[in-house]
């Protein structure tokens, strides 16, 4: 038996198939992963993401601390509530974790890191924070949901306390706000509009019930994975880990090179790779033959070399198999993948595959 989120009984009530995820008993699906996927693309779905780790940082030097800790630059955050996606690197430039940082004030930031990396992340953050006299508070007592889809905000708005509702609806993409004891952010992991909402555990059950009553589909980790793959959003542990540079995981856009004198952890190591001709590509693949691409399958580029699928699966929106892959340097747009002993043809495509309900690649 793993840890249970405040929504566990609600999952059972909704008929969830429960699986272990990083020590947590989480819903894989509530009957049909594909239907949940389509509900999020076409209407709205709610995911329990309470297993993710919320960390609040405070202190006079918290900004300096974060400018050292992560590869993106929190100095970009000038407006209250603005969010920044980035990664924490080790000294070798490998990714310890990817995370979202919300700017809540000059001396106050909120971090959301992954569940499976919780312990090592907290240990790393606390160790690095010592020199900056920053307090690191884990908020394990809070519940968190993601309500995602074109109708998500409209259907979830009645759950927000009336006093904060209009402000929440006025949030711009990638902004969050405190709403009493709640926190509402226009962020997500599906490629659709929506909110991520943090709330006290005691209010979790009633919020869940109201969302379901409003027609929001309870959606599990299975749909969360196919949705994020279509949106070409990285999954820690699959697409990158401590041995992989963000530059070879499609995350260069989350690295702030300027100002050149900002000394973030891992900078020296990834700078060496920045202009290397051997730097691997991180690409999207569309399977042109029949079959399904899966994690760890070998990508063969004729005359160039070999790579590997880091996330592969079936895209319910496109009706074909897609993947993210790390492949050798070079200028090419076709490759083959070893699928159970057969070489199948794939085309390299510009990601995302799907965004806001629309297929973005040529199929």
């Amino acid at each position: 038996m793993g840890s249970k989120t405040p929504f566990y009984d609600k999952h059972i009530e909704a008929g969830a198939r429960i699986v272990d995820f990083g020590g947590w008993d989480m819903p894989l699906h509530y009957g049909s992963q594909k239907e949940e996927h389509h509900a999020v693309r076409q209407n709205a779905g709610v995911f329990d993401v309470s297993h993710m780790t919320i960390v609040d940082l405070a202190g006079e030097r918290v900004r300096d601390f974060l400018r050292h800790l992560v590869a993106n630059d929190v100095a970009k955050l000038k407006d209250y509530g603005k969010a920044l996606y980035t990664s924490m690197l080790n000294a070798d430039g490998g990714v310890i974790d990817d995370l979202i940082i919300y700017y809540l004030g000059e001396t106050s930031y909120r971090l959301v890191v992954n569940a499976a990396t919780r312990e090592k992340d907290l240990a790393w953050i606390r160790k690095q924070a010592e020199a900056f006299d920053v307090s690191v508070i884990e908020r394990a007592e809070l519940a968190m949901i993601a309500v995602q889809g074109p109708k998500a905000r409209e259907l979830a708005a009645p759950c927000i306390h009336a006093e904060y509702r209009d402000a929440a609806l006025a949030l711009k993409p990638f902004f969050g706000m405190e709403a009493g004891e709640w926190f509402v952010a226009r962020t997500g992991y599906t490629g659709e509009d929506g909110w991520e909402i943090v709330m006290p555990a005691a209010e979790a059950g009633s919020a869940w019930d109201r969302l379901l009553a409003a027609g929001v589909a309870p959606s599990g980790l299975g749909a969360r994975d196919t949705l994020r793959l279509e949106a070409a959003m990285n999954l820690y542990g699959s697409d990158m880990d401590e041995t992989i540079s963000p530059l070879e995981a499609g995350l260069e856009w989350t690295v702030a090179w300027e100002p050149a004198d900002r000394d973030f952890i891992g900078r020296g190591a990834i700078e060496a790779l920045r202009n290397s001709p051997d730097r691997q590509r991180f690409v999207g693949l569309l399977l042109e033959d029949k079959g399904v691409l899966r994690n760890h399958q070998k990508v063969v580029v004729d005359g160039v070399g070999e790579g590997e699928i880091t996330s592969g699966g079936f895209s319910p929106t496109i009706g074909r198999s897609i993947a993210l892959a790390r492949v050798p340097a070079g200028d090419y747009d076709r490759a083959q993948v070893d699928v159970r002993g057969k070489l199948l043809n794939v085309r390299i495509v510009k990601t995302p595959f799907v965004r806001n309900g629309q297929v973005r690649i040529d199929v």
Binding site: S32, K34, G222, V292, R294, F314, R340
Partner: protein, 131 residues
């Protein structure tokens, strides 16, 4: 889960076998297997006339989650495959014991029923898995 059809035999690999009365059998996967896999998205079928060994890989069923081999429960020759699964693999989820059949085989040496499970024996296996 609904009741198991009483006219089928079952295997440890959660496949079912129906005797067609002419020396051939139809093979599919059970509702338990289909539910465990989740929504099916692709089925790789063997060629008609292909010979298969008992326990050999005969087809592959892939769901949103994972790929799983379908083994030949008995040695024989493939005489028909369910082509409709190519466009509609979810037939297996919708009707695993009927429209979701996978392969029809002609047996090399007849069917040794002692190698398979009765509906009652298979139900007992499922009950034990639930515990």
């Amino acid at each position: 889960m609904s009741e198991l059809p009483g006219d089928l035999l079952y295997t440890n690999d959660h496949e079912w076998v129906r005797r067609e009365g002419d020396g051939s059998v139809t093979v599919g996967i059970t509702e338990h297997a289909a539910t465990a896999l989740g929504d099916l998205v692709y089925v790789e079928l063997p060629e008609v006339d292909q010979d298969v060994d008992a326990g050999g890989e005969m087809a592959v069923v892939e769901s949103v989650k994972a790929a799983s081999d379908v083994y030949a429960p008995i040695a024989g020759k493939v005489i028909a495959v369910n082509d409709e699964l190519a466009d509609d693999p979810e037939k297996i989820n919708a009707d695993p014991f009927g429209d979701g059949w996978i392969v029809r085989m002609e047996l090399s040496d007849g069917l040794d029923e002692s190698e398979m499970m009765s509906p009652d024996a298979y139900q007992q296996l499922l009950d034990e898995l639930d515990d």
